[in-house]
């Protein structure tokens, strides 16, 4: 009994203190993974905030963006041009979704819009593979997957670049939402459609803007994940990892998506490395979901979500 307690509550921390450089490496790995989760979660949050729709297709949008980018690169298009073209494609996609899916379904129940995004999910999956093929592809954007060592801590250049990019993107979006006219309009639409209309917010424009931004976020997420582990169908499954992030952070909160992502990224890496051996490993696979479950029981609105109080 005492042995078990020691193994759970003392030994892991002793290990951490014993090899601080390694601990920092684990933490950096966690922060990297966390930022990646945040990026995907952010795509969900943006659309959910502006339209109350849970966009089931967000994961596939990441895959679609990555496929488009790789497809263009394979045809010899320079990196920057390919990025620009992919952005154009994602914005065009946003316009198409607004016109063909959202507009005909305006004022329908949320569940119907949700079903529509499931349809969108399958469409994009098939369409992407039809256009670019279903093989696993290597995404090379010219940042070497090399490591260098700073004070005994090994740092991967690709991960560092990805983390920095994600951090910049996330900061810009957070400021944009809190401080600007369009950001405020987005929040207004999320809060009350009628009131938003009455103060002159054009819903359609706002929808195109959020789906475009979500598309751009999908490009960055697809780029980072793709560079790390190749562009393949499983890329769309990272959406599943974004769910616990959303539950942790609150569905409507941009800072929540970021903090939630970091907690899950760091938590699962620490758990895997220091507590994994106790249960035979694979903590990384379930940590996020168990944490999300605990949150659902204790604080269903998430860390940053608004508590909903109904007046009876």
């Amino acid at each position: 009994m005492l042995d078990l307690l020691y193994a759970v509550a003392v030994a892991p921390f002793r290990d951490m203190a014993g090899a601080p450089a390694f601990l920092i490496e684990v933490l950096i790995g966690g922060v990297f993974a966390g930022l990646m989760y945040s990026l995907v979660a952010l795509g969900f949050v943006l659309i959910f905030k502006a339209s109350g729709v849970f966009n089931f297709a967000q994961g596939v949008m990441v895959l679609f963006a990555a496929l488009t980018l790789v497809g263009l690169l394979e045809r010899g298009v320079p990196v920057l041009v390919a990025l620009a073209l992919t952005t154009v494609v994602m914005v065009a996609l946003a316009f198409a979704i607004e016109r063909l899916v959202l507009r005909p379904l305006v004022n329908q129940a949320h569940i119907i819009l949700f079903m529509a995004t499931i349809g969108l999910n399958f469409f994009l999956e098939g369409f992407g593979e039809m256009l670019w093929g279903a093989n696993v592809k290597k995404l090379d954007i010219g940042i070497p997957d090399r490591s260098f060592i700073v004070r005994g801590v090994q740092i991967n250049q690709l991960e560092l670049t990805a983390a920095a990019t994600a951090a910049v993107l996330v900061t810009v979006l957070a400021v944009f939402f809190q401080r600007t006219r369009i950001g405020r309009a987005l929040r207004a639409v999320a809060d009350d459609h009628e009131a938003a209309l009455s103060i002159g917010v054009p819903l359609r424009t706002i929808w195109v803007v959020v789906w475009s931004v979500a598309g751009v976020v999908a490009i960055v997420a697809g780029l980072m994940w793709g560079a790390k582990s190749g562009v393949q169908f499983s890329l769309s499954l990272i959406a599943l990892k974004a769910l616990p992030v959303l539950i942790l952070g609150g569905f409507e909160s941009v800072p929540g998506a970021i903090v939630g992502g970091l907690i899950i990224g760091v938590g699962e890496k620490l758990g895997e490395v220091y507590w994994g051996p106790l249960v035979g490993g694979a903590i990384e696979n379930w940590f996020a979901y168990v944490l999300a479950l605990a949150f659902l029981l204790a604080r269903p609105q998430g860390l940053f979500g608004e508590k909903i109080i109904e007046r009876v």
Binding site: T180, R181, I182, R187, A188, A195, L197, I199
Partner: protein, 260 residues
């Protein structure tokens, strides 16, 4: 452009139907510049429906609506707002998660312009613009005496204050025409007196034309220049408060009439 002499708002023979139900039946009314017009009538008379038609939420089945002499019958709500018509809602439609200040700032949306990119970076002109609008909003906050609650999330405020914040948001748009749907519903006497004072002040200081729906007859008689009475979707009275008060059709609608 010089202001034309005609009325600010002209509603001409407007009907709104929901299926077989005719909620508003060939109603015509005019609201002159700087006037305060009250629209009264029993429940279900079509007052809110008429207001919704004017602000573009419903579109008339027949008839026309003109603002500043131009037809705008079929415009959508955001475009109506862009013309200079602001409104409040019967059941308070505030952005509950946002602070009072942010709520009122949203009212400035149409007055703002700027580049998406600059805004994303919160830089240069975008930042300056934000500060200018902030200054204007602070004036409205002073005017409506809600300084103390500017940082409070709107959803946490008591009902009376929410109504006041909603008025502030509408005022932030510097509207030419302000539509108020039961601005005093559910308020106590003191809150009603405050609201009356604000409405009169808005009308006098900013020269804003106001059309309001109200049930409290005392209030209606006190503040309005003219009263329009609706009953079962039809207009049954239109004139100065003292006159409307003596009108037999109006009395019948309100007090009931013995049908032989």
């Amino acid at each position: 452009m010089t202001a034309p002499a005609g009325p600010l708002l002209e509603v001409d023979g407007v009907s709104v139907r929901f299926g077989a139900l005719v909620a508003v039946n060939r109603v015509s009314l005019r609201v002159g510049r700087r006037e305060i017009v009250a629209i009264i009538g029993p429940n279900g008379a079509g007052k809110t429906t008429l207001l919704n038609a004017v602000s573009g939420f419903y579109h008339p089945y027949e008839g026309t609506i003109a603002f500043e002499g131009r037809d705008r019958t079929h415009l959508a709500p955001p475009d109506v707002a862009a013309l200079g018509i602001a409104r409040t809602f019967q059941n308070v439609a505030l952005f509950k998660g946002m602070s009072v200040l942010d709520n009122i700032m949203t009212g400035r949306l149409l007055k703002m312009s700027g580049s998406f990119l600059l805004e994303a970076l919160y830089w240069g002109p975008a930042r300056r613009q934000e500060l200018e609008h902030r200054a204007f909003v602070e004036r409205i906050i002073d005017f409506l005496e809600i300084q103390a609650i500017r940082k409070t999330p709107a959803g946490r405020l008591p009902y009376g204050l929410q109504k006041r914040v909603e008025l502030a948001r509408a005022l932030a748009a510097e509207p030419k025409l302000l539509l108020l749907d039961e601005p005093m519903a559910g308020m106590n006497v003191e809150e009603k007196e405050d609201m009356c004072r604000f409405i009169l002040d808005v009308n006098q200081e900013f020269g804003t034309t106001i059309a309001l729906i109200e049930h409290d007859m005392g209030v209606v008689m006190d503040i309005s220049d003219r009263v329009v009475v609706l009953d079962y979707g039809r207009k049954i009275g239109d004139g100065p408060p003292a006159e409307v008060r003596r009108d037999q059709a109006v009395l019948d609608a309100y007090l009931g009439v013995a049908h032989a």
